[in-house]
Amino acid sequence: MKIIVCIKQVPDTKGGVKFNPDGTLDRGAMLAIMNPDDKAGLEAALRLKDQYGAEVTVLTMGLPKAADVLREAIAMGADKGILVTDRVLGGADTWATSTTIAGAIRNLEYDLIITGRQAIDGDTAQVGPQIAEHLQIPVISYAQDIKIDGGKVIVQRQYDDRYHVLEAQMPCLITALSELNDPRYMTPGGIFDACAAEITTWGRADLKDVDDSNLGLKGSPTKIAKASDKVRKGAGEKVVPESPEDAVAYIVGKFKEKHIV
């Protein structure tokens, strides 16, 4: 089995987010780490490798220093690392990013692609499903458990108060939650191997079946008007209506209140 895990180097937001005066993230002031959801995705891939045997390739798009997260992944047990980096790819939003990553993946053989649900610096949760769309393969998001059954995956997809059990034929894409598992540590020997390992580096010319108009800042339909630290959501309101009719009346009432209907 061949598994591709897409990972991203992100600023560590544990100690709070720091901004430049122009509102963009001050990445230099924050430690760079492997995105937690992606790390869970990598751990899931490594467990499948332990259990069923697999070749795990980690792929990232970013600045040259993003090779650090590929080395970390190899030190944890991944087999190969691919860095997609090119100045023309800079400033990409989720559309341009997923276009780029899909273009890189078209060069590879795979049975399964695992991405994190979302990155802690953007929190969009769009790139994983978009990659699947570009590649025309099924996607199961928010995985909290992954099993392989022949040529199929059986995944528990997390919901607020339950989970769905979904089955998909491989090749397919799964987005992983950080709650999926506790990622393993690197090993000292793995670190030495990872630092000696050759990281494959691809640029724009290596991307397959992509159009320049969909790449980089120019190919990004998203325009950021303003960035700010995230505001915590309130606890919300829990209502237990006596009947379905009451529930409908309550919801419609709320819609009217907000001028939605």
Partner: protein, 388 residues
């Protein structure tokens, strides 16, 4: 001269730091309080290869260098001196002599289990009457047919009852050296469970209380003839060379304890308020911290230099790292004692309370000035090299 750590060493430090914070620190106080060997931590360390860091991959080790191993002991000791010495004694005092002096058969037989942490190692040199004076050995080994028969005892043995494989130093006869009759000393590999090999009482210690310190007792203990480690009569040289390496591990432990105490104190003095401001705003505190940090940094340079020197030795056995190891241990141990004592002082009354980590760190630090050669022995090693 380059003081910058390589990428792999930076990554390894981060690994050891994360592991120590997440897996070791939460248990440190309990392990000390209950004088409990942290078996669960050892199992986790085994899983991630920490029990065989400088062992070549062909023997199931991690294939890393001595600096990486020293950094592991350092980071573990920052949060728990007990855990640091478990790895140090296992690696430096048991694995290393087998790797250096063992036959191919001995290496194949013992190293994979030790390097993977399936088995734990220990080293028995000290006796009630033979500490610094290693020539005072009383434990005897007599060859009877295909077996060595051991009689005697060893004391203060780290990893004592928890270990599975022991390097034991014993007298195998007498030799004439420069006109004087001296004891002929040899080294042996002894396995736990060998009939005639038992344990005495567990030592109750001031510090590193989770470490298993026992007396080893040999009563007509028969081991195979092939368990002689190195040549007959080379035991003293093997023991001394093993301790040279061991001192790098203990120096790293001492460094870690000093760093741990300093970090804890830096956080504390910014929180603790007296006379309306944090005590970190008083110049006395600032000057104390400056001295502590400077000495810690100097100790680190000596420890890393000694580790690097041993790495050089591993590619060129003509190089000696004995003096560098002695200097690193002497200085780092004394810095550990000084810095942890100052840390307690800066914590005031709270520093004397067991709930606070610096109290344990100060007790843990003291042993680094004593075991694997006291500070006085280190001075002897260093000065004898100056005056030879």
């Amino acid at each position: 001269m380059d003081f910058t750590l390589s990428k792999q060493h930076e990554m390894a430090r981060q690994l050891f730091k994360d592991f120590a914070e997440n897996e070791v620190k939460p248990l440190a106080q309990e392990v000390d309080e209950e004088e409990r060997f942290p078996r669960e931590t050892v199992e986790k360390m085994a899983k991630y290869g920490f029990m065989g860091i400088p062992v070549p991959k062909e023997y199931g080790g991690q294939g890393c260098d001595i600096l990486t191993y020293a950094m592991c002991v350092e980071e573990l000791s920052k949060v728990c001196g007990t855990t640091g010495v478990i790895v140090s004694a296992h690696t430096s005092l048991c694995i290393d002599p087998i790797l250096t002096y063992g036959t191919d058969e001995q290496k194949q037989k013992y190293l994979p289990d030790l390097a993977s942490g399936r088995k734990i190692g220990a080293f028995g040199l000290t006796e009630p009457g033979a500490g610094t004076d290693a020539q005072g050995q009383q434990t005897k080994a007599v060859l009877e047919g295909d077996e060595w028969v051991l009689n005697g005892s060893k004391c203060f043995i780290t990893n004592g009852k928890e270990a599975d494989v022991y390097i034991v130093i014993a007298v195998t006869g007498k030799v004439e050296k420069r006109g004087r009759i001296q004891k002929e000393i040899s080294a042996f590999i002894v396995e736990k469970g060998t009939p005639g090999f038992t344990f005495g009482t567990k030592e109750k210690k001031m510090g590193i209380r989770g470490s298993s310190t026992y007396e080893l007792i040999f009563t007509d203990c028969r081991i195979p003839k092939d368990n002689l480690l190195g040549a007959k009569g080379k035991g003293f040289a093997i023991a001394m060379h093993t301790l040279d390496g061991g001192r790098i591990g203990i120096a790293a432990q001492a460094l870690g304890l000093a760093e741990g105490a300093l970090e804890t104190t830096i956080a504390y003095v910014q929180e603790r308020k007296q006379f309306g401001r944090s005590i970190g705003q008083f110049q006395n505190t600032q000057f104390q911290l400056a001295d502590m940090a400077t000495k810690v940094e100097a100790a680190k340079m000596l420890v890393y230099k000694a580790a690097r020197k041993k790495d050089e030795y591993r590619t060129n056995p003509k190089i000696s790292y004995s003096v560098e190891a002695a200097m690193a241990k002497l200085y780092a141990a004394e810095v550990a004692m000084e810095v942890t004592t100052k840390a307690v002082q800066l914590h005031g009354g709270y520093g004397y309370i067991r709930e606070y980590d610096v109290e344990r760190m100060m007790r843990d630090a003291k042993i680094t000035e004593i075991y694997e050669g006291t500070s006085e022995v280190q001075r002897m090693v260093i000065s004898s090299n100056l005056l030879k």
